[in-house]
């Protein structure tokens, strides 16, 4: 995969102009998570109305892939019910990004989803592959 394919225009666009970036005042749900290997930190705030995501904001620091994934994910969850948000899985996020990722960058790509799941489920999720360690 060439560099231009990897950092394709949509990813750079979401990195440079992340959608729904920031925090919400008095969010109904808020969750933090971090990828200790990279030093990435991310926070998600959700405003819920009638069981639907009325507003979503991501904030934190991270690489282009983690920030772009958070931005794309924020657009995907707006207006969805909490049950629908729970149905979003890693393949959905990878489809949004549309690139092949190695194991290190996969964690960047999935940090936003993991944090979102921590929020909507209220539980700690596992990294991909970590299930085997239990």
């Amino acid at each position: 995969m060439s560099l231009d394919d990897f950092y394709r225009q949509t990813i750079l666009d979401h990195y440079q102009n992340p959608r729904n970036w920031g925090t919400l005042e008095n969010p109904d749900i808020t969750a933090n998570d971090a990828n200790p290997l990279c030093g990435d930190e991310i926070r998600v705030d959700l405003k819920i109305k009638d069981d639907r995501v009325e507003a979503v904001r991501f904030s934190g620091k991270g690489c282009s892939i983690s920030r772009a994934a958070a931005s794309m994910l924020s657009e995907a969850v707006e207006g969805k019910t909490l049950d629908e948000v729970k149905q979003i899985n890693r393949d959905d996020v990878l489809d949004m990004l549309g690139i092949e990722l190695g194991p290190v960058r996969l964690k960047c790509a999935l940090l936003a989803l993991k944090t979102l799941k921590v929020g909507v489920y209220g539980v700690q999720q596992h990294w991909p592959g970590e299930e085997d360690d239990e």
Binding site: L3, Y7, Q16, L37, G39, S64, R105
Partner: protein, 154 residues
């Protein structure tokens, strides 16, 4: 390794033989000796001098790129490594661009997370040199960093 085995029990050999069952790792021992011969033939002074030349050039070329911040002591006081950041571009993004340019670096905390916390940076990109590196590698590194800067301009 055992000394005696009976149906009712066993006795162990004396150390070190007790812990050295089977064939010793002869191949690796010989290879280790060859590796030491190789390094001594080049000479530690020559290795240090070569590394210093590459580090000096790296710090000179990277220092010309706005937004690059180099961490650590002056070139004369270093080994063959240079850790740096590029604006707010994440080290893994810098490393991915460099990887595509054929330049292999390490990105992250380098097993020194408390230091990165103290420095206030999420991660750094780190180039390491040895005897098989050339000045052209340093040029490629600097060009790659410029490419990353251009790609992630905001």
């Amino acid at each position: 390794m055992i000394r005696e085995v009976k149906l009712t029990g066993s006795t162990w050999n004396e150390t070190p033989w007790k812990f050295e069952a089977g064939t010793m790792n002869i191949a690796d021992t010989i290879a280790f000796g060859t590796a030491i011969d190789y390094v001594e033939k080049i000479g530690f002074d020559a290795i240090a001098e070569h590394s210093r030349e590459l580090v000096l050039e790296t710090m000179r070329l990277l220092g010309e790129i706005p937004g690059v911040r180099i961490y650590g002591p002056p070139a004369e006081e270093r080994g063959g490594i240079v850790a740096f950041t590029l604006d707010d571009v994440h080290a893994h993004d810098v490393a991915t661009v460099l990887d595509h340019e054929g330049v292999a670096v390490r990105a992250g905390h380098h097993c020194a997370m408390p230091l990165h916390t103290k420095l206030g940076v999420a991660a750094t990109t780190r180039a390491s040199f040895y005897v098989y590196n050339l000045l052209s590698d340093v040029t490629a590194l600097a060009e790659g960093v410029r490419k990353a800067k251009h790609l992630f301009r905001r």
